[in-house]
């Protein structure tokens, strides 16, 4: 056979670590080990799994190809897992649907926004999303205005614009 589908021991251990990530997340989601904040919970689960993986790699002493393979497999699982996790916890459209279903009656866009933010004005949602830019140092609030930071903010904005062009997205 020209393709060897059988994983080596380090790769098999890495695949097992990928499976352990959702298991660790579930363990930290309930019971005595529950971590309340979903973001921190994911980081902790990923940290535990990555630590176990590093310990295993030290024990099995893989060659560099197996080491890179294992690291990439676990990185893929972490990235994909985090994408799904953030979708469940913070997804915009998902949360809008849940708010409409909770209301169980017709809502105008403004009413829907109120249901989404649980009674807060839409400005609260805007501030919530802006908080991300502020915490990452991409923008600042100065006298009631949102101002892009000259270096980091500009660099991110340029990179985002370039990526939009690359993917053929309209401005």
């Amino acid at each position: 056979m020209t393709i060897d589908f059988l994983p080596t021991l380090p790769v098999a251990a890495s695949l097992a670590a990928c499976v352990m990530l959702p298991v660790a997340l579930l363990v930290l989601s309930h019971g005595p080990f529950k971590v309340t904040a979903p973001g921190r919970r994911f980081v902790l689960a990923a940290g535990v799994v990555w630590t176990a993986w590093v310990a295993t790699m030290i024990a099995v002493r893989p060659d560099w190809v197996d080491l890179v393979t294992g690291a990439l497999l676990l990185a893929t699982a972490t990235l994909a897992g985090f994408t799904l996790w953030t979708l469940v916890a913070w997804g915009f459209t998902v949360s809008m649907l849940l708010a409409l279903a909770r209301a169980d009656r017709p809502l105008t866009v403004d009413g829907w926004a109120l249901a989404y933010t649980r009674g807060k004005p839409l400005a609260a949602f805007a501030q919530d999303r802006l908080g991300v830019l502020l915490k990452l140092g991409l923008a600042e609030v100065r006298g009631g205005e949102v101002v892009m930071t000259p270096r980091r903010g500009r660099a991110f904005a340029k990179a985002a614009t370039m990526l939009r062009r690359l993917f053929g997205l309209s401005k």
């Binding site: 915009f92 904005a157 614009t161």
Partner: protein, 190 residues
């Protein structure tokens, strides 16, 4: 080493296919295009390598192409859906790179909300009549499934970063992962 290069080749093919496919109109969602292209180019690349490269281990090739494909999708999702990045790129185009808070709410967040409402209507999860939106049976069933997943994951709050967590990792900020969209890629996704 050969198998790592095979994985790299699979991804290169995937990148080319998505860059072309995302520019074409159609009903298939962008995320589905990414997924279909990733699987097809991986299968094609591995099968071709088996013919022309000679014996190689599968898993290193799978790891390289899988990792790069996920990063590629991540980058796409960030610029396609993120409200925060949209505000940032608008700030870059604004004179003085500044905007009043009210303008952010009224010019970007409110239209974003309306766009996503239309998306839910398009998906058949909501109906609109006289400017009022109501959840459909399909929407109720979907919402029930999502609530079940949230319950299983121990997530109580949703929607606002500040309510659900005290930690906002970089990837959350960039992604706003909304892989359920059914827009064609050239459209403004909301």
């Amino acid at each position: 080493m050969n198998s790592l290069l095979v994985g790299l080749g699979c991804f290169a093919l995937h990148a080319v296919v998505t860059l072309v496919w995302l520019r074409l109109s159609g009903r298939t969602s962008p995320v589905a295009r990414h997924a279909a292209s990733s699987l097809a180019t991986h299968a094609l690349g591995v099968a071709s390598a088996a013919q022309f490269v000679g014996p190689f281990a599968y898993w290193p090739a799978a790891a390289v192409s899988g990792f790069l494909a996920v990063c590629w999708l991540f980058a796409f999702s960030a610029v396609y859906k993120s409200v925060s990045l949209r505000i940032l790129t608008q700030l870059d185009c604004t004179p003085g790179h500044a905007m009043p808070m009210e303008a952010v709410t009224e010019d970007y967040v409110r239209p974003e909300f309306a766009t996503r409402a239309s998306l839910l209507v398009t998906m058949g999860c909501a109906t609109e009549a006289d400017g009022a939106f109501e959840v459909t049976e399909k929407g109720t069933a979907t919402a029930r499934r999502i609530a079940g997943i949230q319950h299983a994951c121990g997530i109580a709050a949703s929607g606002l970063y500040g309510e659900a967590t005290d930690l906002m990792p970089l990837t959350t900020a960039l992604l706003d992962p909304e892989g359920v969209g059914q827009h064609s890629p050239g459209q403004r996704p909301g």
